[in-house]
Every structure is written in C-alpha cells, then in structure tokens.
Amino acid sequence: MVFTSFAFVKFLAVVLLGLWLMRTRALRQMLILVASAFFYAYWKPAYLLLLMIPSLIDYVCSIRIEDSDSKVARRRWLLFSLITNLGLLAYFKYTNFLLDNMAALFKWQIPYVNILLPIGISFYTFKTLSYTIDVYRREIPACRSLWRYAMFVTYFPELVAGPIVRASVFLPQMTRSLRPSLARAMVGSQVVLLGVTKKLLIADRLAVMVDPVFANPAVYSPFTISSAIVAYSLQIYCDFSGYSDIAIGVSKIIGFDLPENFNMPYLATSLTDFWRRWHMTLSGWLRDYLYIPLGGNRHGRLKTYRNLMLTMLLGGLWHGASWNFVFWGFLHGSALAVNHWWTRDRRSGARRTAPKPQGPLMLVVKWAATYIFVCVAWVFFRSRSFDTSLLILRKISWLDTSGATFFYSPLFAVIPLVVVGHILGVIAQSQFHVPGSSHRRCPAPHWATGLYAGNGGRFALKPSGVAGIYVLLPLPGFWGGALLALWLLAVFLFSSLRTAPFIYFQF
C-alpha cells in the first residue's frame, strides 16, 4: 500500500475513525497494531510471518538479556538475536548477489534463486537490532509487553521505508492518548501535504526525464545527462524526504513523533555535514551501532579512516545487493576520510572540534564541491550497471559529446521551488533554534499554544528533541487560506499522473 494511493487514503481514514471511536488508550494501541499488520499483509500476507518471527525472538532475547546477570549469557542472547535478524536479511537480500559473484569468480553454474525481497526488511531489521543492542547496553529497559513491542516493530507509518525509529524514542511515547485532535491533525496534515508535494509534484515529475536518460545514456548529449543527474539528485531527495514527511505527518496525526530524517542535505558544505543531514536516522544508526563500536575516531587517524570506510561500505551494501551500491559507499567513505584528514588540527593531528570561521566565497566553493561530489556519486547509485556509470561519466566529462540535447522544463521550474523551500527552511531554523541545544523544536501555531499548558505528554505538539521544524501555514486566516488553496490546486493540476513507487521501497 503506497502512501500516495487512494487505498492508503481509505485505510488511514478508517484507522483515524477507529482511533476516534475507541474509548481507551490500550484499545487504540491494539487498533494500530492490527492496522499495521493489515498494512504489511496488504502487500504479501505470508511475509507477515517474517515480521513476526524475529519480533518474537527479539522480544524474548531482550528480556533474557535484561534478566541475566551473566555477561556470557547476555552476550549469547544478543548474538542469537543478531544472527537471526542479520541471517534473514542476508538470505532475502544478498543470496543471489553472493551466488552471482561466486559463479563469476569460480566459473560455476549456479541457478538463480527466486527470492522475493520482503518490503522494508532493511529498515525493520535495523530497528529491531538497535532495540536489542540498546537493551544489552542497558540504555533502555526491555519491553515486557509483547503487543506493545509488536506495535513498535510493525508501526505502519515508518514500517517499510523509515525513518528508522529507535525503541528509546518510540516506546516512551506509548503513554500518549492517541485520540485524534484537531491540533495534531492540522500540523500533521500540512506535513503530509508537504510530503505529497515533494513526491508527486517534484520527484515523480523529474522521474519522467531521469528514467529514460539513465536507461539509455548513449542517446543523450552531455548537457542532457548532466541535467538528468541534477534532476536525479532532486528526485531522490524529494522522493525519500517526501516519504519521510508523509510518515512523520501521518504519525503526528495519530499521536507519535517520529525523528526527522532530512535536514536540507544539499546545503551541506562538507561530506561530514552532508551525512548529518541526509537520511539522518540511518547515518545515526551506522554511527552508534557500527562506527563507534569499531573504535570511531579514538584509535588514531588510520583506524579512523578504516572505520569510516567500513561503515560507508556497509552503508552502501545496506542499500542494495550490487557492486554499484558498494562503490557508492566506497566513494563516500573515501571522501569522508579525506574530509577528516583535511579538517584535522595540523599540530595535534586530532580533529578540530570547532570549525574555523570562513568567508562566504569559501563556503560557496565548499558547498559546490560537496554538491558536485554527491551528484557524481549518485551516478553509481542510480545506474543499472558499472558500465553505464562509466559511460555517463565519459559524457559529463565531455569526452563523448554526441547525443540528443533534451531540455526538460519542469526541472528548471523545480529548482526555484527547491531554493525557496530551502530559504524558508533556513529562516525557520534560525528563528526556532534553541540556544545551547542541538535540538530543533516544533513551533506551534498560535491556536495550538494553549495545548501545551498542563497537558504533559498527551499531545504530539509538545516540543521535544525529536520534533522537527515545520513551516506551517498561518491558518486560519486570509493568507493561510490563499496559500493552502494555491498549494492544493498546484498539486492537483501539475503533479505527475503516473506515480512511481517510492525509490527506497526497493531497499
């Protein structure tokens, strides 16, 4: 069930109606659990089992880990959980990749194994892994309620493509009322509308040009291919952040705050900065459960570079079973290592904690270098094969100038839209940044401010570390009405007719 389908609209309406009618919080949580199971089973009922079995194993393992005082026993239960989760992921996602490579390496005849990749397996595997590891580290208590734990694992807004929510963020919110309110609906629905706009008006429109050009790059001129790469950079951003926005917005309407996943990544002025802004829940996961356990930057420069490279190679492989993704990870790992080397303190060799003040020209140069690098890396991410990637690189290097020049006007209409969106985002960020805190907070519209007082954790609008900045329309009011009408009409009139599946569904 895709978020931008009529089926999902009907499904969500039924869920919200059910939440409205249910009298207790426990019943509402149960309804969300059933709805999440239906949401996943709608795609392929059999794979609901795949979601249930590791959930049960993790549920039991985490309780055993918590209850056990023996370090060896705790480690055994953790290992059992890791092997189960990673084993399933490896089987469903990497079996054919492994067999193909073995066949190529040893010249074996290995038949293709017909395995259908369960949708969202990479996301929910990481989610459950983080839970068990956090319990093992005694950072969170084990969840003793099976159906609450099941609800955490299956929670439908973020089940298939993130944001990757950690139990430490989600489980404490279980105390919320979950009864739909106008305030939450108005904030959440605007975030949903923003996501739908990103997906249908930008990402799907750009896919119209990107897909044929990447499918047949030999036909096109360097200008066309370069514009297709820029278009893809915007497509993948709007597609994935649009999905995240819809997930966050729907969840906000239901009553849970999900973590932000993107923070204007194309404003990054270095690759380190980029990974703090792009797919933040994945990069945070990789940092906390892979990079830091590997040693992080605590054991000298060379080991830091090695750790960065390993983390990014595995991050690349997480995206898909293909050497293109691995190479994409390698490019980012190398660039991050270079970035660390460049920003080290020349005397001590350690990484500078405070950035040197820089002039606007230098910032522009660094921004351009980062964006161009990210775009070149996207070529490997998007292309079907390594050969296609190399052909595209030849074209954009003007080593091969042949081909049809195609000017795609929606790309040049989208760019100002994205620029305006980022300007609004920067203004909002500067206005609502909390001094002395890394958190950004969700500013409530004036009609909702009264909800804060005395309501404790009942409302999703309560500012918290995980709530993001949303530029909300000034509703109700003349300008809010005018902007909302223009926005809705623009989405209806100009969005793509053929909606493509979300790009990150394949991961």
Partner: protein
C-alpha cells in the same frame, strides 16, 4: 498568560474571533482561485468557448502552445491552420489522421501541413493543405468522412497518415467517432459512436466550465486521472468467461480492411503514409504492422509510403528526438516539430511527383 514553553517565541494573545478568521480563510482561498484562473488563461483555452469560426486552443500538457483551427465540421476541432497565406488556384491536398494531425502541441507554422506548403512553394508546385485530426481514431473515421470531404473540397490528393495504433482495437472498439466491424471476407460495417452534442442544462454547464481556464483545467485533470486509473491491469477473467472474443478475431483483418476501405472511399487520390513510433532510438527495419500495411497496399494497388527512412536519417544526422516536448518524457508523446518536419518532407517528396 504566555503558555509558550522556553525556546518557543511567544505569540500574540489578543486573537481575533475564530469565526472571523475562518471566513477570512475562505475569502483567501477564493481570491487564490481567481488569481490562478487569471494566470491559467495564458496557457489554457478550451474548444467549446468562445464559439467563433477560428478556434484558439492553448495547452500546456505537451509543451506550451497556441494553435488555431477553422471549425468546418471535420476533425475534432476543424481544419488546422498552417499560418501560410493560401496560394491562389493551387490544388488542395487533404491530410487526415488521429491526434498526430491535430498537432495542438506545436505552433501553426510547425505543423505537417505547414511544412508541406512551404516546401511545395519553394519547389514551384504550390499546394494548399487542409489538415484534419481526430483524437483516438483510425481508418473508419476517415472512411466515414470521405463523401463529404471530397464533395466539399475536391482535393487533388488525400494523404491518410497512419501509425501502429490504427492497426488494432482502436479501429474496432476503442476508437472515438467511428468504428468498424469486419467480416472474414474483408467487407465491413461502419459503426457511429460519436457523442451527440450536449443540449439543455448539460450544454449550459459545459459552456460555463469552458469559460473558466481553472474549471477547464480541473475537468481535464480529473479526466486524465480517471484515464490513468483506467490503465491499471484488469483482473483475470473467470474461467467461464474464456469464450472466444469475436473482436479479437477481427484484429488481424484491420490492416487489409482499412486499406481496402480507404481505397474505396478516396480512389486514385489516396496516399497512405505510415509513421513509425521513433522514440529515443529508431530501428531502420520495418516493424510488423508496417510490413503488413505495405503488403496490403501492394495487394490493393494503393500508393503507400513509410516515413521511417527519413525519420531515421533525421535522428542520426541531427541527433534530434522526433517525439516529445520540453515537459514530457524524452521521445514520448506526439511528433514534435522535428518529427513533423521529417514526416512532412517525406510526404511532400512523394506527392510532388504526382502533381503537375
């Protein structure tokens, strides 16, 4: 009391009454709709209003263009004007086709007819083109209109432009205006499926909608969304429903029946021009439908050409895509000005030899 938590800017507390704010919201939405209606007027104009002899169509689905038609009862909108002044005493050549002859995605001067007229004048053999396109049609519509077309204009030549969509169900059950039912001996019966003009209240509503570019856009968009939903794969028919499909049996007969019908309708004045779907690349070898069409033409002794060679040459020499526009997928959609130039040139080269 300021109830904002620390870090959140305080808001003004002397709030206007909620009812007034919601009324202002509705007024704001209406003002926005009026504004958008005004802006869209530069890009959208419907065919049903104003009802003048020269119809101006503006669209932004395939490029952003304005096109003009003389409403004379043929074609979806009428005779697509070429922007060229008519040559006195020059013979008339009629071009017929589906939406590829409506050509509302290119300006008048880039249409197939305009290309042919310019080349004919440059070669000293001027002709006047009348070009008629009907959306979603095939040979039955061209056959049904033949008597009146010949009587009205007495053309020197009639060029029917076909493509592979004309060779399947569009001629039988899916085409608009006219369809055909074919017997095994290639005789056929024309079926009139034209929608009668709306009358009374319905016509008033259509006229009202046609006056507003915004309403027209919303209506068109709703239709497109409905059609896109309609393209979803149908569920498999139940086993009991697997009886032979009588229409499917007629599909292989569409090409020979169309050629025979067109020959009967237009006689020696007929030329059939086949335009292949050259998208991102163009295969120099003829497709199956094209080969069967040329075979049928030989059998019926009808003048036929394929514009494939000219289109391939154009793509190879200039690297131009012949289909698609600046806001569509590259190579998809109707023929663009390069495609129409290539097809028009190929047709003119063939018909110029038939003219004195």
């Amino acid at each position: 009391m300021n109830s904002s938590p620390p870090g959140i800017p305080s808001r003004r507390l002397d709030k206007p009454p909620q009812a007034r704010l919601w009324i202002l919201t509705i007024i704001g939405a209406l003002v926005a709709a009026v504004l958008l209606n005004f802006v869209l007027g530069f890009f959208i104009a419907g065919w049903n209003y104003p009802k003048t002899p020269i119809r101006t169509i503006r669209q932004l689905t395939e490029g952003t263009t304005t096109s003009h038609f003389l409403a004379d009862g043929f074609g979806t909108y009428g005779n697509r004007l070429t922007g060229n002044p008519p040559a006195p005493n020059a013979p008339i050549v009629i071009l017929l086709g589906d939406s590829h002859l409506v050509q509302d995605a290119v300006p008048d001067s880039d249409t197939m007819g305009a290309v042919i007229e310019r080349q004919s004048r440059a070669d000293g053999k001027p002709v006047n083109i009348r070009q008629y396109g009907w959306y979603s049609t095939a040979a039955p519509t061209y056959i049904a209109n033949a008597p009146l077309l010949l009587k009205s204009f007495d053309p020197k030549l009639v060029v029917v432009v076909l493509n592979s969509t004309d060779f399947a169900r569009e001629a039988l059950t899916e085409g608009w205006y006219w369809q055909m039912r074919i017997n095994p001996d290639l005789t056929f019966r024309l079926v009139d499926v034209r929608t009668p003009e709306g009358t009374g209240r319905l016509a008033q509503v259509r006229d009202f909608v046609g006056r507003s570019p915004l309403m027209l856009s919303l209506r068109r968009r709703a239709v497109l969304i409905f059609l896109a939903g309609d393209e979803a794969p149908l569920p498999p028919r139940p086993a009991a429903d697997h009886a032979p499909d009588p229409i499917q049996a007629q599909v292989p007969l569409v090409i020979p029946a169309s050629v025979r019908g067109l020959k009967t309708a237009y006689g020696a004045r007929l030329l059939i021009a086949y335009t292949p779907f050259c998208r991102q690349t163009c295969d120099p070898a003829p497709d199956e439908g094209e080969a069967r069409l040329l075979d049928a033409c030989r059998t019926e002794a009808v003048n036929c050409i394929s514009t494939r060679a000219d289109m391939v040459a154009e793509m190879q020499s200039t690297h131009h895509l012949l289909r698609g526009f600046h806001n569509t997928a590259p190579g998809e959609g109707h023929l663009n000005r390069f495609g129409l130039q290539a097809v028009g040139t190929a047709i003119w080269r063939r018909i110029s030899s038939e003219l004195p």
